[in-house]
Symmetry: C2
Subunit: 260 residues, 2 copies
DNA sequence: AGGAATTTGTGCGTATGTATG
DNA sequence: TCATACATACGCACAAATTCC
């Protein structure tokens, strides 16, 4: 693999006859050779994180194979988390995972912007309901107590990294919905209800594979790994203010526990 | 599903004609019906964590199918993490994941025994080598400085839960090998070198799928989820004493971050 | 607002090489 | 040697999502 970058061909003629040439009738399948070529381009920096690959049609032309064959190579790399293909947009090189500190002060927006990225939040739903046994125990409420249930999806530089549901004790935090819908920031939503500061009391981390629903919400392929994070936030007096159940795309974040 | 537990049939006659009977020629494959039946037995507590299933041959007889069909059902549940089949031993219901606290004082043996389980450790290898760039940075050494590299596998109640490599600065911790080989305990090994107390400074958590090697070492099926944990331990003065790179079987532990 | 162009996603059919029995 | 099954690869057509004018 000494060829030029796959993405670098434009209208100019090919610079080498061996470029893009596959060893047909060799022991390795065509789609795997293509996948290896693309992966090498990513590893060598010829394709940088966030950059767009040529269209499947152009890659097929380039490697002199059918588009299906290119698609198979891309699918393999997407399953590895190296690429991400979106219908109507194109295929892109995935960004490096963001270090996501988990500590007493865990604030999504602060974390992301401190690393030089743009944080985004989207309130997907907000309904008043009653606490089930598990939620009541975590929020130290009676089962059946009124709670606000919100579903929030979070983005870094426009790509979704997590989504999940949160529960807030209800007489106290009735006002979070409006702020959450407008800003997508939990911190500001709680501040609007008089919680000037809150702390992460406990974080439980498990993992599972992405279902079709997860895949759709996080724009990744089914079967990728998800972190399942159950978090409890408390106010200055130690009173629970938020119980969250969030799934993260495991190859878009790296969870970091710092013990200062 | 109102049948008796699968594991409960012994020499007594069947208590109901429908027990174990499959809806052949229905829309659901035989192996999936068997898998669902076993899963229901686990969920309802008729099969408890740690208990052994009947042999594949007996299950095949029970459901009146070929043993291959039973194996497919078991394989599906093993892939979900519900069962674990070990050659020569049998098939067992997986235990619930153990809560594994990650904090300033993270001690494997203490954590496990406090939860009422038996902790085990096995030193797989110990070699003197030199620090590569990454290891040197973490241990605050010069690249090329001598370090001790150990590979340790850990068990809870006899089942492997993690394995990984650790690096110790070498002039100081030459004595850990012997203690580690004898006790499998990092805490005692460090104590033997004069480190009466150590602290977890940082823990980085990512995830990946188990390869064949991982699967062999942790006695799980390839493709299961692994937590990849990079940890740094320091002594009372803040000097790094151990840099570890450990993989955990993600469905045998739940990582818990507590912020006192 | 709307419609064309672009790009990925999906389905079907066909042919070929390679194990398997 | 034949039959079968499976994965690979190709070709064509259309659907669906996004972007751009």
């Amino acid at each position: 693999m000494t060829g030029e970058a796959i993405a670098d061909f434009g209208d100019e003629p090919m610079t080498g006859t061996s470029d893009g040439a596959l060893a047909r009738a060799a022991g390795v399948t065509a789609w795997r050779q293509i996948a290896d070529a693309i992966e090498a381009d990513v590893m060598n920096g010829r394709l940088t994180p966030g950059s767009q690959l040529p269209t499947e049609a152009r890659l097929a032309e380039r490697f002199a194979v059918n588009r299906h064959t290119v698609r198979r190579a891309i699918a393999a790399l997407a399953a590895k988390g190296l690429l991400r293909a979106t219908q109507g947009r194109g295929t892109f090189v995935e960004a490096k995972p963001l270090a996501y500190p988990i500590g007493r002060r865990t604030r999504f927006t602060e974390i992301v912007s401190r690393e030089g990225h743009e944080a985004g939040g989207e309130l997907m739903s907000a309904t008043e309901t009653v606490a089930d046994e598990e939620t009541a125990r975590r929020l130290r409420l009676m089962p059946g107590a009124p709670v606000l249930r919100t579903e929030v999806r979070r983005f870094i530089d426009g790509t979704p990294v997590s989504y999940g549901t949160s529960f807030f004790p209800l007489p106290r935090f009735a006002g979070v919905t409006a702020v959450l819908r407008e800003t997508g920031s939990i911190t500001r939503a709680l501040a609007a209800c008089g919680v000037t500061d809150y702390m992460r009391a406990e974080t439980r981390i498990t993992a599972r594979l992405a279902t079709g629903d997860d895949a759709a919400r996080l724009d990744l392929s089914p079967g990728r790994i998800l972190f399942v994070v159950d978090a409890l936030n408390v106010d200055g007096t130690g009173t629970p203010v938020q119980a969250a159940h969030v799934v993260f795309a495991a190859d878009r974040v790296e969870l970091v526990v710092e013990n200062g």
